[in-house]
Symmetry: C2
Subunit: 125 residues, 2 copies
């Protein structure tokens, strides 16, 4: 692990409440995982570019970008890989793009628990 | 619970792979929760409208829509409530809109587990 920086990448929005939801979602990871950060693809700060540049400036050479997206659409198939290729070229860093979180079966199980709780708030976990 | 139909609402996409990811995400809930369905807001079938109409035709009068969205943006603040108001008017059904799944703390915990697994695939779950 050590000097690899983990970037939780959200889409971004000009709506502050939207970003706050993602900051809350990211919180457990940011607390648990050393050298992890949140970044936004567009419309909000900090940008992916800013977080990579700041990381390189403080000695990180390897990055893993974990998309806080439920599924891969155009952004994750085209836009983000293009941004990453450009950042690798301009900084010399190595940047790995992970699958979106929604492709992990753990998310489907969490959704089931969320729905069960919404239907019966007294249900145990 | 009984005759209430639960609708997991995804955004929808013309990209078949995108919808397949959501179908996989919905699977544990659809298996565990009686009378639950998946529906799409746009660009994919079945539509929210189709699932509500089919539900009403088969005797359901109450629906809960659970958005498979990480956060509430324009769609969940404006478009979906407008669709729901229209469907309530045209069908006489009662339709409740839940918060997006990403507003539940369980999702943030699942994300932490996903990231931990991606960093160390041998880590126990």
């Amino acid at each position: 692990m050590s000097s690899r920086r983990i970037i939780l990448l959200a889409h971004g929005s000009s709506d502050k409440r939207w970003c706050e939801t993602f900051e809350t979602l990211a919180e457990p990871t940011l607390k648990a995982v050393t050298n992890s950060r949140i970044a936004y693809m567009e419309l909000a700060a900090p940008s992916l570019e800013a977080v990579v540049h700041e990381g390189v400036a403080t000695g990180n050479r390897e990055f893993t970008v974990v998309p806080l997206f439920l599924a891969a659409g155009r952004h994750l198939r085209k836009d983000v890989p293009a941004m990453i290729a450009e950042l690798e070229k301009s900084t010399g860093a190595s940047i790995t793009l992970s699958p979106p979180i929604g492709e992990n079966p753990l998310l489907g199980l969490a959704i089931k628990d969320v729905v069960a709780l919404q239907l019966d708030p007294n249900a145990g976990q």
